[in-house]
């Protein structure tokens, strides 16, 4: 009796496990498949009965989508790349100091930075707009790259500090015994060992620059270097969608969504380690 009971719970548990997983996986895959398929439909096919296989497949949505977005995609790419480079340049030294140096005010400084992660960023947009206007950074790519640091650096410090802290304590001194200076010990020994953390941070930084809507929409105007995401907002802006060619819009979502997804697939092994709290 009791072994029977045990088997029943074990089987139920197994069934639930696979049930949950297949549901969540299928849910995402069906959505993806639908979007993909719809992006090949001509505008007329959006009326009438819903169907998943396009009857008269066309590439119009993709070609016009690409045409509309090409300049914006370049902007997005430059912004993502710049955000990554600047974020790494300023947060690697900081994280290193927080992980491996003792100094007065270390704890306070660390939490001042980490808690910035919890700040409602939307509060910053208005004053930053104003400030950027005065500094000539409004409506420029560098302006956005700098602004994104407020999202990225707290995260970067959090992740990188853990990576630096995990390395053996006397590793720099050992390197210095072999003739490295403090700086070359950092460059040749510490930095390579922290590569997984650096990749994870680089990925998150690029993702921020590429994915953000708030700053992207508010720190640019139509005449400036608009990244790709706000363009998508401009086309429907709040759901009134009768005149919209949804096929083109879905092609555009796929075009904008693909680069971060590919990057994620490349960086994923590093990411899973980075999130240990």
């Amino acid at each position: 009796m009791s072994t029977d009971d045990f088997d029943v719970t074990a089987v139920t548990l197994k069934a639930t496990t696979y049930g949950v997983i297949s549901f969540l996986v299928l849910f995402n895959l069906v959505v993806l498949a639908f979007i993909f398929s719809v992006s090949f439909m001509p505008p007329s096919e959006f009326f009438g009965a819903p169907h998943i296989i396009p009857q008269n497949p066309t590439l119009d949505a993709w070609t016009s989508g690409f045409e509309e977005l090409q300049d914006n995609l370049v902007n997005s790419f430059l912004i993502g790349l710049g955000t990554t480079v600047v974020a790494l340049a300023i947060s690697i030294p900081g994280a290193y100091a927080f992980a491996r140096k003792e100094f007065y005010g270390k704890r306070a400084g660390f939490y001042a930075i980490i808690s910035a992660m919890m700040f409602p960023y939307i509060l910053l947009v208005i004053p930053i707009m104003d400030l950027w206007n005065d500094l000539g950074l409004y409506n420029t790519i560098p302006g956005m790259i700098i602004a994104y640091q407020v999202f990225v650096t707290p995260f970067a410090i959090w992740i990188l500090r853990d990576f630096f802290a995990k390395l053996p304590t006397d590793i720099e001194e050992a390197a210095q015994v072999y003739g490295c200076t403090q700086f070359t010990a950092f460059l040749r020994v510490i930095l390579p060992l922290a590569t997984p953390g650096i990749v994870a941070v680089g990925f998150l930084a690029f993702l921020t620059g590429w994915n953000d809507f708030l700053f992207a929409n508010l720190l640019t105007t139509g005449t400036g270097p608009v990244p790709a995401v706000p363009v998508l907002y401009g086309t429907i802006g709040g759901g009134s969608g009768e005149r919209v060619y949804w096929g083109k819009l879905m092609a555009e979502t796929l075009i904008i969504g693909t680069p971060p997804t590919i990057l994620y697939l490349v960086a994923r092994n590093y990411l899973e380690n980075a999130f240990t709290v």
Binding site: I35, S91, A97, I114, A116, M118, I146, N211, G238, T276
Partner: protein, 308 residues
């Protein structure tokens, strides 16, 4: 400095002067990060906070009005609609936690295909939120979208639902889309923490004859507590301040029914150019979220004190 370092290696810790110069170097290293945060966060915030006491038309000169902006909000009916929407909307964090916890526990059980499964899970989180917002704006479009199309075709619904004109339904839609988009973030944090629970704990639980439920309640859950609290406090704040999906799906409407505080801020600032009032909304939002910062720091501290 570098040569000195090499020669003084033995006695550097005891030398006061050397300690000072070590300190000086550390300060130099953290200076860029601190400078950026002061420039990008504390200065703008101080300016904005000051502005919330001013009448500040977009592009114009601010004029001091004291607490007038706040008084205006508290006397203004839609502000309470917005507050209520914010509270309902914050349920998304609980839903995200629920899905993430179940998914993380399930994924731990399976042997093969783990990396495929997590890969598919993460899709909704890696693409821009505005992209997922646009996708659902189409899928849930009442006239042309496939979801209502199929539901009416199969006879499950009499006719399509124009959720955009119904406050409750609109709130439901943004709750669903936000949850679908952001749960993988919590999944990542909880999974990582789940992996790091030492196997010995489970072995001793087994030795003492603990059942599944007991093991989960006494071993798994307490070990996950900090990760869950960190993830919760981050997500509560982030969910409340993400506006792109709400704007794309409902524009804060109908009326103010889905204008969570962050969207209200946006509407005051960019719809009406009333920066002072917009910032007053922001300050109220900050007051509502600030408590979570302390929970976050406390739990963060706890995990870094006793690394497993």
């Amino acid at each position: 400095m570098s040569t000195q370092n090499r020669f003084d290696l033995g006695g550097w810790a005891s030398s006061y002067r050397e300690t000072l110069s070590e300190n000086w170097f550390a300060y130099l290293l953290i200076l860029p990060v601190l400078a950026f945060l002061v420039l990008l966060m504390w200065l703008p915030f101080a300016q904005g906070f000051y502005m919330s006491f001013n009448d500040w038309p977009f592009g114009g000169e601010p004029a001091w009005v004291g607490l007038e902006n706040y008084r205006f909000l508290f006397d203004w009916e839609p502000f309470y609609t917005s507050l209520r929407a914010t509270l309902v909307f914050s349920l998304t964090t609980v839903l995200q936690l629920g899905v993430a916890l179940v998914a993380a526990l399930a994924v731990r059980e399976i042997r093969r295909g783990k990396s495929f499964v997590t890969g598919v899970f993460l899709i909704s989180y890696t693409v821009p939120p505005l992209v997922t917002g646009t996708i659902w704006a189409y899928l849930l479009q009442p006239d042309l979208g496939p979801i209502f199309g199929y539901l009416t075709q199969w006879g499950l619904l009499e006719e399509t639902i124009y959720w955009g004109s119904d406050g409750g339904a609109s709130l439901g839609v943004i709750l669903f889309v936000t949850t679908w988009t952001f749960w993988p973030f919590m999944f990542l944090i909880i999974s990582a923490s789940l992996e790091s629970i030492p196997e010995e704990l489970y072995e001793s639980a087994r030795m003492y004859g603990a059942g599944r439920v007991q093991t989960f309640l006494r071993v798994t859950l307490p070990q996950l507590k900090s990760a869950i609290l960190v993830a919760l406090s981050i997500r509560i704040i982030w969910n409340m301040t993400k506006i792109s999906q709400v704007l794309q799906l409902t524009n804060g409407g109908p009326g103010y029914d889905t204008s969570i505080l962050a969207v209200l801020l946006y509407r005051f600032a960019y719809g009406q150019g009333r920066m002072g009032v917009a910032y007053a909304v922001g300050v109220i939002l900050l007051v509502m979220t600030i408590g979570f910062v302390f929970i976050f720091i406390r739990e963060f501290e706890r995990t870094s004190e006793d690394p497993q």
